[in-house]
Symmetry: C2
Subunit: 393 residues, 2 copies
């Protein structure tokens, strides 16, 4: 363990080095008090504020009051954090406990000179240089241990710019355990969140919006929800690693932040579940209702609260507008889970929890059973039909 004196000396040395290096580099931009729509080359917000003039967003400036937690700052999470930073989000809270490695260089964001640094610290420094207006809070720990889980819950429930709960949690983790921890925390705190994932063969991914009590949580129907629950660390021990591509990860991060922006700034329609299959450019969507027998008792409690709510007035109406299937008659399809991964479980092994309700509509087209997917459209289909169809893939 380093002594206080040694550390103080190291801080002084680093501060001096930083000052020397910064002297040779162009000064980064200053903080900006108020977002302006002025069209000048020096305004980093002109293209975003133009969303108002274009009739897309009513009040773009609202983004400065919002706080988002990004859990996992890897291939998807780092790009997610960068997009939110460039959009001028008020506060960003980052969680990760991994270090940057050269093996991560096949994805966007981190650069070779950051190898060896903690991901959250390296990310925070880059993001702060990109946009000094964003408040960035970096947490370098594993949220799945008992102590850290409580710290995580406390942080997301008091982490907003005004000391309240964050506006949204984005899950960008790469393993089942961390997803379950986020799910448990969000069910307990009634915190809306997005789950995301990329398959271990790198050619499919998904995002899913979870509103505790209103939509299926991660424990309600894991096999339908998890596109990949591979833990790279476990695999690495055998000299084997998951494949990944900057394209798939960038696209999934783009879908995640785009739907987060739609939810936070109130434009467009938030998609419940959006899948991406790169081999065929197939984009399944669906909506899963919560499982009344969910193993997470807090999910069941949230479901009771939702049922006890008076029907569509104020709050309920707002939630429906954000997450409801506005065009349910033609926009949902079945989710094909990673049909190209040779090592994945056969889909006939789907451990579908009793009582799960699948809210979707899908066309039984002659070609739908092709394992390469394709667009699916509107009609009714029972859960049994869906299972049979999945087994035949």
């Amino acid at each position: 363990m380093s002594t206080v004196e040694e550390l103080q000396k190291k801080v002084r040395d680093l501060e001096a080095k930083l000052a020397a290096v910064q002297g040779n580099v162009a000064p980064v931009r200053q903080k900006i008090d108020v977002m302006s729509a002025e069209v000048v080359d020096s305004n980093p917000y002109s293209r975003l504020m133009a969303l108002k003039r274009m009739g897309i967003v009513d009040n773009y400036e609202k983004i400065r009051e919002l706080s988002v937690a990004v859990v996992g700052v890897g291939g998807v999470g780092s790009v997610t954090a960068e997009m939110l930073t460039r959009c001028g989000i008020g506060k960003l809270i980052l969680f990760d406990y991994d270090k940057v490695e050269l093996a991560n260089m096949n994805r966007l964001f981190f650069q070779p000179h950051q190898a060896g640094l903690s991901k959250v610290d390296a990310a925070a420094a880059t993001l702060q240089a990109i946009n000094p207006d964003v408040t960035i809070d970096a947490h370098n720990y594993n949220i799945t241990t008992v102590d850290n889980f409580q710290k995580f819950c406390d942080t997301i429930s008091t982490g907003s710019l005004t000391g309240g709960p964050v506006n949204l949690v984005l899950s960008c983790v790469d393993n089942f355990e961390a997803r379950m921890a986020i799910n448990t925390a969000c069910n307990e705190l009634s915190q809306n969140w997005f789950e995301s994932g990329v398959s271990e063969n790198a050619v499919s991914g998904h995002i899913q919006f979870i509103v505790p009590g209103e939509t299926a949580c991660f424990a309600c129907a894991p096999p339908l929800v998890v596109a990949s629950n591979i833990d790279e660390k476990t695999l690495k021990r055998d000299g084997v690693c998951a494949a990944s591509l900057p394209t798939t990860m960038g696209i999934v991060a783009g879908f995640l932040v785009q739907n987060a922006l739609k939810y936070l700034l109130g434009f467009g329609t938030v998609t419940h579940y959006l899948g991406y299959s790169a081999l065929t450019d197939f984009f399944p969507t669906m909506c899963l209702k919560p499982n009344p027998q969910c193993s997470d008792s807090q999910c069941v409690t949230r479901q009771k609260e939702v049922r006890a709510r008076p029907p569509p007035v104020e709050l309920a109406a707002e939630v429906c507008e954000d997450v409801g299937p506005l065009h349910a008659d033609n926009s949902w399809g079945i989710c094909l889970i990673d049909e190209n991964a040779p090592e994945e479980e056969d889909s006939s092994n789907l451990r579908l929890v009793d009582g799960v309700q699948v809210a979707y509509s899908v066309a039984l087209d002659s070609s739908t059973e092709s394992s390469t997917g394709g667009a699916v459209a509107a009609s009714e289909l029972s859960l049994e039909d869906l299972m049979a169809q999945m087994k035949s893939m």
Copy 2:
């Protein structure tokens, strides 16, 4: 105890800041002679070479022999170049004549300290630091002037690593004139290319694969093909600019590079035309045949060459495999061009060139006429039906 922790945190922060500032200065990773699949933290290619073990790509190493030209290094082009660099492309040829401005900071890639630098030079420096194995060739000129157009043609016809034509041209420009210049060059040189675009309201985009003589070129049916032909420079003079989002641009770049990789490395199915409508997460696909009366005489010449080819043997078979509608019965839909842009031309003004053939199949579902889109599926529809449907949107 907390003092030591605080100091350790400060040291980490300073190290990260120093690393971020040193970005273009600090020594980066060394060149690597041969791509290895070895699973170690120091191998930047392990996750890409894993695509072979996963059965996705037969010969990933081939990427090191390939050359790609990226025309336009803005919101889409810079991310496109970064993705290809991280994938280990052999050679990247960049074209742009613009400078980095703070007004570009709402998109990925460029950072505030690069403001004032030429986009190609700033990009080349960052990309070379990310991956020194890639040969990067930066061209800082406007390809639309007479002299530069010839230089552009010469560069793409002799720019490969072995002095031959590049393997692919990716258009990431933001105006009609530049797209037409690329189209003219590629028709003349029989050069396959991808066109890309993002709408001026920032919430839709598209990519399109163009094989001269086989698919519609940019001059065959411009209104169906151009999602946006806004020239930001013209607009800026009036104190007005196009809106843009890092999400939409990142997603379009992801689609572009993903389909480029599928084409170059021979996996999956290359999509002819893939659209993205962010408000509803709608992804139209279609395939346009070339116009026999195309105004570009070189396009007409290429069409004659294609018709004169003996039917599906060797080369022809290969091309069909890459670009053909393998699942034409359910994977094409109509393209809704930017239905949410308030200032765009009414779709009833579509100047569809005589003789254009639209190759698609689409379901006439009760909800298909909704302006918000939705998945469309298999059935036959005449061009007249399509036009009527578009007018009703």
